[in-house]
């Protein structure tokens, strides 16, 4: 069985666990909807147009939800030592990382779709632009979020600071994702041509590929006893 197949099996196992227990997923979904609701209330739309800030708020909600969820990726497996048993199986650390990142990514995609729909609705963004252009921006951006969250989520499990540590470690690294993601999404909302967006999308892809490779290469240092 090759490593990618093993990673895929870990993804399926994690997703099955995620949907059976449902706690983390439900909490993230509730967070996204409530955050969108609160942003819409907090924003004085007679002074600031919702459309002008929607892109930034969507990315921030995705960032906060994925960070809150990342702290819980390994929770279920930590009980009864299941993660330790996973480490004892003949699956390489990069394959475990890739499998868990892919499962985390699937959850983040769900959160992203929900954040996009709820915030554009709450903030009154009627013309959202090209779906293909949004996909080309959100795909690499969420891969970067998932890989970084999975990697540092493992680290925060062993910290007495717990989930408080996670934003301190991840936010400085994720600034490029938020910056290029939010500016690109804002341009898609405005219906700008693809050449104005492609530069940021390429940088998001560079971050996504870099974070997956670096995470896979260094994952054994945050898992081995």
């Amino acid at each position: 069985m090759n490593e990618l197949r093993r990673a895929w099996l870990i993804t399926l196992k994690d997703l099955r666990l995620e949907f059976r227990t449902g706690g983390r997923l439900l909490a993230m979904i509730a967070f996204v909807v409530l955050a969108g609701f609160l942003f819409a209330f907090a924003l004085d739309q007679s002074q600031v147009a919702g459309r002008d800030v929607a892109a930034a708020l969507i990315w921030l909600v995705i960032l906060f939800a994925s960070t809150a969820g990342a702290g819980r990726i390994f929770d279920a497996e930590e009980e009864e030592g299941a993660f330790r048993h996973l480490l004892l199986t003949p699956v390489s650390r990069p394959a475990i990382f890739l499998g868990k990142t892919a499962a985390n990514l699937a959850v983040i995609w769900l959160v992203t779709a929900l954040a996009f729909i709820s915030l554009t609705a709450f903030l009154g963004v009627r013309d959202t632009g090209s779906p293909a252009a949004h996909a080309a921006v959100f795909l690499p951006g969420t891969i970067g979020l998932a890989a970084t969250g999975t990697f540092f989520g493992r680290m925060s499990r062993h910290s007495s600071l717990g989930d408080t540590l996670l934003p301190v470690l991840t936010f400085p690294l994720l600034v490029p994702v938020i910056f290029f993601g939010a500016t690109s999404t804002a341009r898609v909302f405005l219906g700008r041509p693809w050449p104005e967006i492609s530069g940021s999308a390429r940088l998001l892809w560079a971050f996504a590929v870099g974070s997956v490779f670096i995470g896979a290469a260094l994952f054994r240092h945050v898992t081995d006893e």
């Binding site: 680290m155 910290s159 007495s160 540590l165 301190v168 470690l169 400085p172 690294l173 260094l218």
Partner: protein, 233 residues
């Protein structure tokens, strides 16, 4: 700490402090005003060396951390901790002097432009480095996690360097390390190089002492409570 190490550390700190005092005299009485910015540009002779020293320290942390991850050698981790403290202190000097200069030169204390933002984020990454170390119960694991944070954080350094060229920025471009050679007038260049030497010597001296203290702390036997007795150092 060996006698040689103590003499080297003391010599570096003394030479560093003396050179920085000389630089302050040069800045106050010798170097001329920069034509466009006037007297405020003189903060350049503290800001740039502080930035250089920060990146030198960050480079040492990154290399020492990579070596620690590879060999799990305690000396590499001690060197990384000693340099990381230097990175935080000199980074704080850089982040304080930059806005003071910017207030007059740009009319604002802070501008969310790439080099400033990435440098601030690098500083926060190193804050995270110490948080990770102190918050993980198993010391060996804490060291390994901190080394990972340092290696990942160091990837920011090349990005900070090229950010001025890549993105439109208020931050001045390099005036010393350029393909066509330094474009700074000779008296300003002399003051800057003297300051760079002073800051580098001071950092290396402090680094030598801090490394020795860290090594000593790890060799000190634990007390009855299981804690290393800091008072013995």
């Amino acid at each position: 700490m060996s006698t040689k190490g103590r003499i080297a550390g003391l010599a570096l700190v003394t030479a560093g402090v003396a050179t920085i005092l000389l630089v302050h005299w040069m800045v106050a009485f010798w170097v001329p005003n920069e034509a466009a910015q006037g007297v405020v540009q003189r903060i350049f002779y503290v800001h740039v060396p502080a930035a250089w020293t920060t990146f030198l320290a960050v480079g040492i942390v990154a290399i020492a951390s990579a070596v620690y991850l590879w060999l799990e050698d305690e000396r590499a981790d001690a060197a990384a901790v000693a340099a990381a403290e230097g990175a935080l202190i000199f980074g704080a000097i850089m982040l304080i002097t930059g806005p003071l200069w910017g207030r007059i030169a740009w009319g604002t204390y802070w501008e969310w432009e790439p080099r400033l933002t990435l440098t601030l984020l690098l500083w926060f990454t190193y804050l995270g480095y110490f948080l990770v170390r102190s918050s993980v119960a198993d010391p060996r694991r804490g060291k390994r996690f901190a080394a990972v944070v340092a290696v990942v954080g160091s990837l920011n350094i090349p990005l900070i360097h090229v950010s001025v060229e890549w993105f439109r920025s208020l931050h001045p471009e390099a005036v010393v390390i350029k393909p066509e050679g330094p474009t700074l007038p000779s008296d300003m260049l002399a003051t800057l190089l003297t300051s760079l030497a002073g800051f580098t010597m001071l950092f290396l001296g402090l680094f030598t002492f801090r490394y020795a203290v860290e090594r000593l702390r790890r060799r000190t036997p634990p007390t009855a409570t299981g804690e290393t007795d800091e008072a013995l150092i």
